[in-house]
Protein backbone atom coordinates (compact mmCIF):
# COMPACT_ATOMS: atom_id res chain seq x y z
CA UNK A 1 0.00 0.00 0.00
CA UNK A 2 1.42 3.24 -1.18
CA UNK A 3 -0.40 5.57 1.20
CA UNK A 4 0.91 8.60 3.08
CA UNK A 5 -0.56 8.65 6.60
CA UNK A 6 -0.23 10.63 9.78
CA UNK A 7 -0.98 9.28 13.26
CA UNK A 8 -1.70 11.81 16.02
CA UNK A 9 0.48 14.30 14.16
CA UNK A 10 1.01 17.71 15.74
CA UNK A 11 3.35 19.90 13.72
CA UNK A 12 5.82 22.05 15.58
CA UNK A 13 4.73 25.66 15.11
CA UNK A 14 6.61 27.61 17.80
CA UNK A 15 4.47 29.20 20.48
CA UNK A 16 1.19 27.56 19.55
CA UNK A 17 -1.00 25.22 21.62
CA UNK A 18 -1.11 21.70 20.19
CA UNK A 19 -4.63 21.97 18.76
CA UNK A 20 -6.10 18.99 16.99
CA UNK A 21 -3.86 16.06 16.13
CA UNK A 22 -3.96 15.07 12.47
CA UNK A 23 -4.90 11.52 11.52
CA UNK A 24 -4.75 11.78 7.75
CA UNK A 25 -4.84 8.91 5.33
CA UNK A 26 -3.92 10.00 1.85
CA UNK A 27 -3.98 7.57 -1.05
CA UNK A 28 -2.40 7.75 -4.51
CA UNK A 29 -4.73 9.31 -7.03
CA UNK A 30 -5.94 11.87 -4.52
CA UNK A 31 -5.21 15.54 -4.77
CA UNK A 32 -5.14 17.21 -1.35
CA UNK A 33 -5.29 20.95 -0.84
CA UNK A 34 -4.11 22.47 2.43
CA UNK A 35 -5.89 25.74 3.17
CA UNK A 36 -5.45 28.19 6.00
CA UNK A 37 -4.54 31.74 6.93
CA UNK A 38 -0.94 33.00 7.12
CA UNK A 39 1.02 31.31 9.88
CA UNK A 40 -1.43 28.43 10.29
CA UNK A 41 1.41 25.96 9.67
CA UNK A 42 0.76 24.89 6.07
CA UNK A 43 4.43 24.96 5.05
CA UNK A 44 5.49 23.40 8.37
CA UNK A 45 3.02 20.57 7.77
CA UNK A 46 4.36 20.02 4.25
CA UNK A 47 7.97 19.88 5.51
CA UNK A 48 6.91 17.50 8.30
CA UNK A 49 5.19 15.23 5.79
CA UNK A 50 8.43 15.19 3.79
CA UNK A 51 10.42 14.26 6.90
CA UNK A 52 12.43 17.48 6.76
CA UNK A 53 11.20 18.69 10.14
CA UNK A 54 10.47 16.70 13.28
CA UNK A 55 6.86 16.81 14.49
CA UNK A 56 6.04 17.91 18.03
CA UNK A 57 4.07 14.68 18.47
CA UNK A 58 2.83 11.78 16.42
CA UNK A 59 4.32 10.32 13.27
CA UNK A 60 4.20 10.22 9.49
CA UNK A 61 3.98 6.91 7.68
CA UNK A 62 4.98 6.31 4.08
CA UNK A 63 3.86 3.01 2.58
CA UNK A 64 3.12 1.74 6.09
CA UNK A 65 6.60 2.41 7.44
CA UNK A 66 7.47 5.28 9.82
CA UNK A 67 9.23 8.05 7.92
CA UNK A 68 12.37 8.24 10.12
CA UNK A 69 12.97 4.55 9.43
CA UNK A 70 13.40 5.20 5.70
CA UNK A 71 16.75 6.18 4.27
CA UNK A 72 16.74 9.75 2.94
CA UNK A 73 17.59 8.53 -0.55
CA UNK A 74 14.69 6.05 -0.57
CA UNK A 75 12.32 8.79 0.58
CA UNK A 76 13.58 11.01 -2.23
CA UNK A 77 12.80 8.30 -4.78
CA UNK A 78 9.15 8.34 -3.63
CA UNK A 79 8.48 11.83 -2.45
CA UNK A 80 9.24 15.13 -4.19
CA UNK A 81 9.00 18.59 -2.65
CA UNK A 82 8.49 21.92 -4.41
CA UNK A 83 9.67 24.59 -1.98
CA UNK A 84 8.39 28.10 -1.72
CA UNK A 85 11.79 29.66 -1.21
CA UNK A 86 14.81 28.90 -3.35
CA UNK A 87 18.55 29.42 -2.99
CA UNK A 88 20.58 30.24 -6.02
CA UNK A 89 23.69 31.91 -4.66
CA UNK A 90 25.76 29.87 -7.11
CA UNK A 91 25.35 29.96 -10.89
CA UNK A 92 23.39 27.06 -12.41
CA UNK A 93 21.59 26.62 -15.70
CA UNK A 94 17.94 25.64 -16.04
CA UNK A 95 18.98 22.24 -17.43
CA UNK A 96 21.40 21.60 -14.55
CA UNK A 97 18.66 22.52 -12.10
CA UNK A 98 16.16 20.12 -13.65
CA UNK A 99 18.83 17.40 -13.65
CA UNK A 100 19.36 17.53 -9.87
CA UNK A 101 15.95 15.85 -9.68
CA UNK A 102 17.74 12.69 -10.84
CA UNK A 103 20.13 12.79 -7.85
CA UNK A 104 18.26 10.17 -5.77
CA UNK A 105 18.67 7.59 -8.54
CA UNK A 106 22.42 7.95 -9.12
CA UNK A 107 25.29 6.40 -7.21
CA UNK A 108 28.28 8.56 -6.19
CA UNK A 109 30.54 7.65 -9.10
CA UNK A 110 27.74 7.70 -11.68
CA UNK A 111 27.33 10.65 -14.01
CA UNK A 112 23.96 11.64 -15.40
CA UNK A 113 23.23 9.33 -18.32
CA UNK A 114 21.06 9.54 -21.42
CA UNK A 115 17.97 8.46 -19.45
CA UNK A 116 18.43 11.18 -16.87
CA UNK A 117 18.94 13.80 -19.54
CA UNK A 118 15.84 12.54 -21.34
CA UNK A 119 13.81 12.79 -18.10
CA UNK A 120 15.03 16.34 -17.48
CA UNK A 121 14.42 17.41 -21.08
CA UNK A 122 10.89 16.01 -20.99
CA UNK A 123 10.23 17.82 -17.70
CA UNK A 124 11.41 21.10 -19.20
CA UNK A 125 9.25 20.53 -22.28
CA UNK A 126 6.14 19.95 -20.18
CA UNK A 127 6.71 23.18 -18.30
CA UNK A 128 7.39 25.29 -21.41
CA UNK A 129 11.02 25.76 -20.44
CA UNK A 130 12.85 23.99 -23.25
CA UNK A 131 13.97 27.23 -24.86
CA UNK A 132 15.42 28.41 -21.53
CA UNK A 133 17.51 25.26 -20.91
CA UNK A 134 20.95 26.91 -21.26
CA UNK A 135 19.99 30.06 -19.34
CA UNK A 136 21.22 30.77 -15.80
CA UNK A 137 18.40 30.37 -13.29
CA UNK A 138 19.41 33.65 -11.64
CA UNK A 139 18.48 35.52 -14.84
CA UNK A 140 14.89 34.21 -14.93
CA UNK A 141 11.69 35.82 -13.69
CA UNK A 142 9.93 34.61 -10.53
CA UNK A 143 7.32 32.66 -12.47
CA UNK A 144 9.93 31.00 -14.68
CA UNK A 145 11.90 29.94 -11.60
CA UNK A 146 8.74 28.50 -10.09
CA UNK A 147 8.32 26.38 -13.22
CA UNK A 148 11.96 25.28 -13.00
CA UNK A 149 11.28 24.03 -9.46
CA UNK A 150 8.28 22.08 -10.73
CA UNK A 151 10.39 20.67 -13.57
CA UNK A 152 13.01 19.45 -11.07
CA UNK A 153 10.38 17.42 -9.22
CA UNK A 154 8.90 16.21 -12.50
CA UNK A 155 12.36 14.90 -13.44
CA UNK A 156 12.52 13.29 -9.99
CA UNK A 157 9.22 11.53 -10.91
CA UNK A 158 8.10 10.79 -7.35
CA UNK A 159 4.98 8.91 -6.28
CA UNK A 160 4.09 11.74 -3.91
CA UNK A 161 4.15 15.42 -4.79
CA UNK A 162 4.36 17.87 -1.88
CA UNK A 163 3.95 21.32 -3.35
CA UNK A 164 4.12 24.60 -1.47
CA UNK A 165 2.05 27.18 -3.36
CA UNK A 166 2.32 25.69 -6.87
CA UNK A 167 0.94 28.81 -8.55
CA UNK A 168 3.22 31.34 -6.81
CA UNK A 169 4.38 34.05 -9.25
CA UNK A 170 2.69 32.28 -12.19
CA UNK A 171 0.66 34.09 -14.84
CA UNK A 172 -2.93 32.94 -15.42
CA UNK A 173 -2.10 30.59 -18.26
CA UNK A 174 0.70 28.89 -16.40
CA UNK A 175 -1.45 28.64 -13.26
CA UNK A 176 -3.93 26.58 -15.26
CA UNK A 177 -1.15 24.61 -16.96
CA UNK A 178 0.46 23.81 -13.60
CA UNK A 179 -2.79 22.70 -11.97
CA UNK A 180 -3.54 20.56 -15.04
CA UNK A 181 -0.08 19.00 -14.71
CA UNK A 182 -0.62 18.19 -11.03
CA UNK A 183 -4.07 16.77 -11.78
CA UNK A 184 -2.54 14.63 -14.52
CA UNK A 185 -0.01 13.34 -12.00
CA UNK A 186 -2.84 12.35 -9.67
CA UNK A 187 -4.69 10.67 -12.55
CA UNK A 188 -1.54 8.74 -13.38
CA UNK A 189 -1.53 7.28 -9.86
CA UNK A 190 0.52 9.80 -7.89
CA UNK A 191 -0.59 11.48 -4.70
CA UNK A 192 -0.53 15.27 -4.56
CA UNK A 193 -0.54 17.44 -1.45
CA UNK A 194 -0.39 21.18 -2.00
CA UNK A 195 -0.62 24.29 0.10
CA UNK A 196 -2.83 26.83 -1.57
CA UNK A 197 -3.75 30.43 -0.94
CA UNK A 198 -6.33 30.55 -3.67
CA UNK A 199 -9.58 29.06 -2.42
CA UNK A 200 -10.93 28.85 -5.93
CA UNK A 201 -8.04 26.82 -7.27
CA UNK A 202 -8.60 24.45 -4.34
CA UNK A 203 -12.33 24.25 -5.05
CA UNK A 204 -11.71 23.50 -8.67
CA UNK A 205 -8.79 21.07 -8.62
CA UNK A 206 -8.61 19.29 -5.27
CA UNK A 207 -10.35 16.02 -4.43
CA UNK A 208 -9.70 16.46 -0.70
CA UNK A 209 -9.14 19.45 1.53
CA UNK A 210 -7.45 20.02 4.87
CA UNK A 211 -8.35 23.26 6.64
CA UNK A 212 -5.77 24.48 9.16
CA UNK A 213 -6.99 27.15 11.57
CA UNK A 214 -4.58 29.60 13.19
CA UNK A 215 -5.29 28.22 16.69
CA UNK A 216 -4.20 24.72 15.66
CA UNK A 217 -7.70 23.38 15.03
CA UNK A 218 -8.13 21.41 11.81
CA UNK A 219 -10.69 19.53 9.77
CA UNK A 220 -10.40 17.50 6.61
CA UNK A 221 -12.34 15.40 4.15
CA UNK A 222 -13.50 15.17 0.53
CA UNK A 223 -13.52 18.60 -1.08
CA UNK A 224 -17.30 18.95 -1.69
CA UNK A 225 -17.95 18.38 2.05
CA UNK A 226 -15.39 20.93 3.12
CA UNK A 227 -16.44 23.81 0.89
CA UNK A 228 -18.98 25.25 3.32
CA UNK A 229 -19.17 29.01 3.27
CA UNK A 230 -19.39 29.32 7.09
CA UNK A 231 -16.40 27.04 7.71
CA UNK A 232 -14.31 28.94 5.16
CA UNK A 233 -15.39 32.30 6.59
CA UNK A 234 -14.24 31.15 10.01
CA UNK A 235 -11.00 29.85 8.51
CA UNK A 236 -9.97 33.18 7.03
CA UNK A 237 -11.91 35.53 9.30
CA UNK A 238 -13.38 36.98 6.12
CA UNK A 239 -16.96 37.26 4.80
CA UNK A 240 -17.41 35.30 1.58
CA UNK A 241 -20.06 34.82 -1.06
CA UNK A 242 -20.31 31.79 -3.30
CA UNK A 243 -21.35 31.62 -6.96
CA UNK A 244 -20.93 28.89 -9.49
CA UNK A 245 -18.88 29.25 -12.68
CA UNK A 246 -17.30 26.82 -15.15
CA UNK A 247 -18.74 23.90 -13.17
CA UNK A 248 -17.12 24.75 -9.84
CA UNK A 249 -17.99 26.92 -6.84
CA UNK A 250 -16.25 30.29 -6.81
CA UNK A 251 -15.75 32.15 -3.54
CA UNK A 252 -15.56 35.91 -3.56
CA UNK A 253 -14.55 37.93 -0.51
CA UNK A 254 -17.19 40.56 0.23
CA UNK A 255 -16.62 43.98 1.72
Amino acid sequence: MASLETRGLIVDVPGRPPGRALDLCMAPGECWGVLGPNGAGKTTLLHTLAGLRAPRAGLVRLEGRDLPRWRRREVAQRLGVVFQERHDEFPATVMETALIGRHPYLSPWQREGETDIAHAREALRRLDLEHLAPRLVSTLSGGERQRVSLATVLAQSPLWWLVDEPTNHLDLHHQMATMTLLEAQARAGCGVVMCLHDLNLAARWCSHLLLLYSDGEACWGPAPDMLEVEALERLYGQKLMCVEADGAPVFIPTR
Binding site: R86, L99, P104, P108, R111, A133
Partner: protein
Amino acid sequence: MSDAEARRRGGSSLAGPLTWLALAALLSQALALALGSVALSPDALLAVLGGGGEPLHRTLVLDLRLPRALAAFGTGALLALAGALMQVLLRNPLADPYVLGLSGGASVCALLAMLAGLGASLVAGAAFGGALASMLIVFGLAHGTGSWTPTRMLLTGVVMAAGWGALISFLLAVSPAERLPGMLYWLMGDLAYAGSPWLVLALAALALVVMVPLGRTLNVLARGGMQAAALGVAVRPVEWTLYLVASLLTAVAVTTAGSIGFVGLMVPHMLRLRLGNDQRLILPASLLAGGTLLTLADTLARTLIAPQQLPVGVITALLGVPSFLYLLYRSR
Protein backbone atom coordinates in the same frame (compact mmCIF):
# COMPACT_ATOMS: atom_id res chain seq x y z
CA MET B 1 31.07 17.71 -27.28
CA SER B 2 31.92 21.37 -26.75
CA ASP B 3 31.83 22.96 -23.28
CA ALA B 4 28.78 25.01 -24.12
CA GLU B 5 26.96 21.94 -25.39
CA ALA B 6 27.99 20.00 -22.30
CA ARG B 7 26.73 22.66 -19.93
CA ARG B 8 23.48 22.97 -21.84
CA ARG B 9 22.99 19.26 -21.43
CA GLY B 10 23.59 19.67 -17.75
CA GLY B 11 26.73 17.63 -17.36
CA SER B 12 30.02 19.34 -17.80
CA SER B 13 32.90 18.28 -19.92
CA LEU B 14 35.75 17.65 -17.52
CA ALA B 15 38.53 16.90 -19.94
CA GLY B 16 38.85 20.24 -21.74
CA PRO B 17 39.26 22.70 -18.87
CA LEU B 18 41.27 20.25 -16.77
CA THR B 19 43.73 19.61 -19.58
CA TRP B 20 44.36 23.34 -19.96
CA LEU B 21 44.76 23.80 -16.22
CA ALA B 22 47.16 20.85 -16.00
CA LEU B 23 49.27 22.35 -18.81
CA ALA B 24 49.30 25.68 -16.97
CA ALA B 25 50.40 23.86 -13.82
CA LEU B 26 53.29 22.19 -15.66
CA LEU B 27 54.30 25.49 -17.22
CA SER B 28 54.29 27.22 -13.82
CA GLN B 29 56.54 24.47 -12.43
CA ALA B 30 58.94 24.87 -15.34
CA LEU B 31 59.09 28.62 -14.76
CA ALA B 32 59.66 28.12 -11.04
CA LEU B 33 62.54 25.76 -11.80
CA ALA B 34 64.13 27.93 -14.47
CA LEU B 35 63.89 31.38 -12.85
CA GLY B 36 65.89 32.67 -9.93
CA SER B 37 69.24 34.20 -9.02
CA VAL B 38 70.71 32.05 -11.80
CA ALA B 39 68.29 31.78 -14.71
CA LEU B 40 68.37 28.56 -16.71
CA SER B 41 67.68 28.32 -20.43
CA PRO B 42 65.01 25.78 -21.48
CA ASP B 43 67.79 23.54 -22.82
CA ALA B 44 69.70 23.60 -19.55
CA LEU B 45 66.52 22.88 -17.59
CA LEU B 46 65.63 19.95 -19.85
CA ALA B 47 69.17 18.60 -19.50
CA VAL B 48 68.87 18.67 -15.70
CA LEU B 49 65.46 17.03 -15.73
CA GLY B 50 66.80 14.43 -18.18
CA GLY B 51 69.40 13.41 -15.64
CA GLY B 52 72.38 15.38 -16.97
CA GLY B 53 73.35 19.04 -16.94
CA GLU B 54 75.97 20.95 -14.99
CA PRO B 55 76.42 20.03 -11.29
CA LEU B 56 75.61 23.60 -10.18
CA HIS B 57 72.39 23.54 -12.16
CA ARG B 58 71.50 20.13 -10.76
CA THR B 59 71.89 21.39 -7.18
CA LEU B 60 69.92 24.56 -7.92
CA VAL B 61 67.01 22.81 -9.60
CA LEU B 62 66.72 19.48 -7.83
CA ASP B 63 67.74 20.41 -4.27
CA LEU B 64 66.60 24.01 -3.96
CA ARG B 65 63.95 24.98 -6.47
CA LEU B 66 62.03 21.76 -7.05
CA PRO B 67 61.03 21.08 -3.41
CA ARG B 68 59.98 24.68 -2.96
CA ALA B 69 58.02 24.79 -6.24
CA LEU B 70 56.21 21.57 -5.38
CA ALA B 71 55.48 22.80 -1.87
CA ALA B 72 54.06 26.01 -3.34
CA PHE B 73 51.89 24.00 -5.71
CA GLY B 74 50.64 21.70 -2.95
CA THR B 75 49.92 24.54 -0.54
CA GLY B 76 48.02 26.54 -3.14
CA ALA B 77 46.06 23.43 -4.09
CA LEU B 78 45.08 22.79 -0.46
CA LEU B 79 44.00 26.39 0.10
CA ALA B 80 41.89 26.57 -3.06
CA LEU B 81 40.29 23.20 -2.37
CA ALA B 82 39.52 24.19 1.23
CA GLY B 83 37.97 27.43 0.00
CA ALA B 84 35.77 25.67 -2.56
CA LEU B 85 34.51 23.23 0.10
CA MET B 86 33.83 25.97 2.65
CA GLN B 87 31.83 27.92 0.08
CA VAL B 88 29.54 24.98 -0.57
CA LEU B 89 29.24 24.28 3.16
CA LEU B 90 28.15 27.84 3.93
CA ARG B 91 26.23 28.31 0.66
CA ASN B 92 28.13 31.55 0.36
CA PRO B 93 30.69 32.42 -2.29
CA LEU B 94 32.42 34.72 0.21
CA ALA B 95 33.36 31.99 2.66
CA ASP B 96 36.91 30.79 2.94
CA PRO B 97 39.06 29.36 5.75
CA TYR B 98 40.53 32.78 6.44
CA VAL B 99 37.19 34.50 6.74
CA LEU B 100 36.21 31.80 9.23
CA GLY B 101 39.15 32.54 11.53
CA LEU B 102 41.05 29.30 11.00
CA SER B 103 44.23 30.99 9.88
CA GLY B 104 43.81 33.58 12.64
CA GLY B 105 43.90 30.86 15.27
CA ALA B 106 46.90 29.28 13.58
CA SER B 107 48.69 32.63 13.42
CA VAL B 108 48.17 33.48 17.09
CA CYS B 109 49.55 30.12 18.21
CA ALA B 110 52.48 30.32 15.77
CA LEU B 111 53.38 33.84 16.94
CA LEU B 112 53.23 32.73 20.58
CA ALA B 113 55.59 29.87 19.74
CA MET B 114 57.97 32.30 18.01
CA LEU B 115 57.86 34.65 21.00
CA ALA B 116 58.76 31.75 23.24
CA GLY B 117 61.76 31.20 20.99
CA LEU B 118 60.72 27.74 19.85
CA GLY B 119 62.18 26.10 16.74
CA ALA B 120 60.57 25.94 13.32
CA SER B 121 58.98 22.51 13.78
CA LEU B 122 57.35 23.55 17.05
CA VAL B 123 56.06 26.74 15.42
CA ALA B 124 54.50 24.59 12.73
CA GLY B 125 52.98 22.30 15.32
CA ALA B 126 51.56 25.28 17.20
CA ALA B 127 50.02 26.61 13.97
CA PHE B 128 48.39 23.26 13.29
CA GLY B 129 46.98 23.13 16.82
CA GLY B 130 45.75 26.71 16.55
CA ALA B 131 43.87 26.05 13.31
CA LEU B 132 42.19 22.96 14.71
CA ALA B 133 41.32 24.70 17.99
CA SER B 134 39.83 27.60 16.07
CA MET B 135 37.79 25.18 13.98
CA LEU B 136 36.41 23.46 17.08
CA ILE B 137 35.51 26.76 18.71
CA VAL B 138 33.71 28.07 15.59
CA PHE B 139 31.81 24.85 14.97
CA GLY B 140 30.99 24.38 18.66
CA LEU B 141 29.70 27.92 19.11
CA ALA B 142 27.83 27.93 15.79
CA HIS B 143 26.02 24.79 16.88
CA GLY B 144 24.96 26.59 20.06
CA THR B 145 21.79 25.07 21.44
CA GLY B 146 21.16 23.01 18.34
CA SER B 147 20.02 25.25 15.52
CA TRP B 148 22.79 25.42 12.97
CA THR B 149 22.54 27.72 10.01
CA PRO B 150 25.19 28.70 7.49
CA THR B 151 24.66 32.38 8.33
CA ARG B 152 25.22 31.77 12.01
CA MET B 153 28.38 29.84 11.31
CA LEU B 154 29.70 32.53 8.95
CA LEU B 155 29.03 35.21 11.57
CA THR B 156 30.70 33.16 14.30
CA GLY B 157 33.73 32.69 12.09
CA VAL B 158 33.95 36.35 11.12
CA VAL B 159 33.76 37.43 14.77
CA MET B 160 36.38 34.86 15.76
CA ALA B 161 38.63 36.08 12.96
CA ALA B 162 38.30 39.66 14.24
CA GLY B 163 39.20 38.46 17.73
CA TRP B 164 42.27 36.61 16.47
CA GLY B 165 43.21 39.74 14.48
CA ALA B 166 43.20 41.81 17.68
CA LEU B 167 45.36 39.21 19.43
CA ILE B 168 47.81 39.24 16.52
CA SER B 169 48.12 43.04 16.74
CA PHE B 170 48.64 42.76 20.49
CA LEU B 171 51.37 40.15 20.08
CA LEU B 172 53.13 42.24 17.44
CA ALA B 173 52.94 45.34 19.67
CA VAL B 174 54.56 43.66 22.65
CA SER B 175 57.15 41.65 20.72
CA PRO B 176 60.82 42.61 20.78
CA ALA B 177 61.86 44.42 17.60
CA GLU B 178 64.35 41.76 16.47
CA ARG B 179 61.62 39.14 16.24
CA LEU B 180 59.21 41.27 14.22
CA PRO B 181 60.50 40.57 10.67
CA GLY B 182 60.18 36.80 11.11
CA MET B 183 56.71 37.18 12.55
CA LEU B 184 55.56 39.50 9.79
CA TYR B 185 56.89 37.13 7.14
CA TRP B 186 54.99 34.28 8.72
CA LEU B 187 51.79 36.34 8.84
CA MET B 188 52.04 37.16 5.14
CA GLY B 189 53.07 33.70 4.04
CA ASP B 190 56.52 32.38 3.26
CA LEU B 191 57.53 29.20 1.49
CA ALA B 192 61.24 29.44 2.31
CA TYR B 193 60.89 27.00 5.22
CA ALA B 194 58.32 24.73 3.61
CA GLY B 195 60.48 21.61 3.89
CA SER B 196 59.45 18.43 2.11
CA PRO B 197 56.56 18.94 -0.32
CA TRP B 198 55.25 15.40 -0.20
CA LEU B 199 52.82 15.83 2.70
CA VAL B 200 50.90 18.69 1.05
CA LEU B 201 50.89 17.01 -2.35
CA ALA B 202 49.70 13.69 -0.96
CA LEU B 203 47.02 15.38 1.14
CA ALA B 204 45.74 17.35 -1.86
CA ALA B 205 45.49 14.18 -3.92
CA LEU B 206 43.80 12.29 -1.08
CA ALA B 207 41.27 15.08 -0.48
CA LEU B 208 40.38 15.06 -4.15
CA VAL B 209 39.82 11.31 -4.18
CA VAL B 210 37.57 11.62 -1.12
CA MET B 211 35.60 14.64 -2.30
CA VAL B 212 35.05 14.10 -6.02
CA PRO B 213 32.62 11.16 -5.50
CA LEU B 214 30.68 13.57 -3.28
CA GLY B 215 30.64 16.12 -6.12
CA ARG B 216 27.04 15.72 -7.23
CA THR B 217 25.90 15.66 -3.60
CA LEU B 218 27.72 18.96 -3.08
CA ASN B 219 26.00 20.41 -6.16
CA VAL B 220 22.67 19.60 -4.56
CA LEU B 221 23.79 20.88 -1.15
CA ALA B 222 24.75 24.22 -2.71
CA ARG B 223 21.03 24.75 -3.31
CA GLY B 224 20.23 24.73 0.39
CA GLY B 225 19.97 22.17 3.14
CA MET B 226 16.22 21.57 2.83
CA GLN B 227 16.34 21.11 -0.93
CA ALA B 228 19.28 18.74 -0.57
CA ALA B 229 17.51 16.68 2.09
CA ALA B 230 14.42 16.50 -0.11
CA LEU B 231 16.62 15.07 -2.87
CA GLY B 232 17.99 12.34 -0.63
CA VAL B 233 21.17 13.89 0.80
CA ALA B 234 22.05 13.04 4.41
CA VAL B 235 22.78 16.70 5.04
CA ARG B 236 24.35 16.73 8.51
CA PRO B 237 26.99 14.00 7.90
CA VAL B 238 27.97 15.60 4.59
CA GLU B 239 28.33 19.00 6.25
CA TRP B 240 30.52 17.54 9.00
CA THR B 241 32.72 15.85 6.41
CA LEU B 242 33.05 19.09 4.48
CA TYR B 243 34.00 21.07 7.54
CA LEU B 244 36.50 18.56 8.84
CA VAL B 245 38.21 18.08 5.48
CA ALA B 246 38.36 21.82 4.76
CA SER B 247 39.75 22.54 8.23
CA LEU B 248 42.39 19.86 7.97
CA LEU B 249 43.49 21.12 4.54
CA THR B 250 43.76 24.66 5.86
CA ALA B 251 45.65 23.61 8.96
CA VAL B 252 48.24 21.73 6.90
CA ALA B 253 48.56 24.58 4.39
CA VAL B 254 49.06 27.17 7.13
CA THR B 255 51.57 24.92 8.85
CA THR B 256 53.57 24.59 5.64
CA ALA B 257 53.69 28.16 4.47
CA GLY B 258 52.25 30.51 7.05
CA SER B 259 49.15 32.51 6.46
CA ILE B 260 48.44 33.13 2.77
CA GLY B 261 45.21 34.93 2.02
CA PHE B 262 43.05 35.21 -1.09
CA VAL B 263 43.82 31.89 -2.74
CA GLY B 264 40.94 30.05 -1.05
CA LEU B 265 38.49 32.83 -1.76
CA MET B 266 39.58 33.84 -5.22
CA VAL B 267 40.50 30.72 -7.12
CA PRO B 268 37.17 28.83 -6.77
CA HIS B 269 35.21 31.99 -7.42
CA MET B 270 37.13 32.85 -10.61
CA LEU B 271 36.72 29.28 -11.83
CA ARG B 272 32.97 29.37 -11.15
CA LEU B 273 32.62 32.50 -13.23
CA ARG B 274 34.21 30.67 -16.17
CA LEU B 275 33.16 27.04 -15.70
CA GLY B 276 29.86 27.06 -13.82
CA ASN B 277 29.31 25.39 -10.47
CA ASP B 278 29.60 21.65 -11.02
CA GLN B 279 31.77 20.57 -8.07
CA ARG B 280 32.99 17.54 -10.01
CA LEU B 281 34.79 20.04 -12.23
CA ILE B 282 35.35 22.89 -9.77
CA LEU B 283 37.16 20.79 -7.13
CA PRO B 284 39.90 19.36 -9.38
CA ALA B 285 40.09 22.66 -11.25
CA SER B 286 40.56 24.54 -7.95
CA LEU B 287 43.34 22.18 -7.00
CA LEU B 288 45.21 22.78 -10.27
CA ALA B 289 44.56 26.52 -10.48
CA GLY B 290 45.34 27.15 -6.79
CA GLY B 291 48.61 25.27 -7.13
CA THR B 292 49.51 27.13 -10.31
CA LEU B 293 48.71 30.53 -8.81
CA LEU B 294 50.82 29.98 -5.71
CA THR B 295 53.73 28.53 -7.72
CA LEU B 296 53.78 31.62 -9.93
CA ALA B 297 53.36 33.96 -6.96
CA ASP B 298 56.21 32.30 -5.11
CA THR B 299 58.44 32.47 -8.18
CA LEU B 300 57.75 36.21 -8.40
CA ALA B 301 58.26 36.60 -4.64
CA ARG B 302 61.79 35.27 -4.83
CA THR B 303 62.81 36.89 -8.14
CA LEU B 304 61.21 40.37 -8.22
CA ILE B 305 63.72 42.06 -5.92
CA ALA B 306 66.31 39.24 -5.76
CA PRO B 307 68.41 38.47 -3.80
CA GLN B 308 65.79 39.76 -1.34
CA GLN B 309 62.51 37.86 -1.06
CA LEU B 310 58.97 39.15 -0.69
CA PRO B 311 56.26 37.44 1.38
CA VAL B 312 54.26 35.36 -1.10
CA GLY B 313 50.93 36.50 0.43
CA VAL B 314 51.70 40.02 -0.79
CA ILE B 315 52.05 38.74 -4.35
CA THR B 316 48.86 36.64 -4.28
CA ALA B 317 46.94 39.66 -3.06
CA LEU B 318 48.53 42.07 -5.55
CA LEU B 319 47.90 39.68 -8.45
CA GLY B 320 44.57 38.45 -7.19
CA VAL B 321 42.70 41.57 -6.24
CA PRO B 322 42.75 43.32 -9.64
CA SER B 323 42.00 40.17 -11.62
CA PHE B 324 39.22 39.24 -9.23
CA LEU B 325 37.66 42.69 -9.46
CA TYR B 326 37.93 42.60 -13.25
CA LEU B 327 36.24 39.20 -13.52
CA LEU B 328 33.51 40.25 -11.12
CA TYR B 329 32.92 43.42 -13.11
CA ARG B 330 32.75 41.48 -16.39
CA SER B 331 30.48 38.72 -15.08
CA ARG B 332 26.78 38.59 -15.75
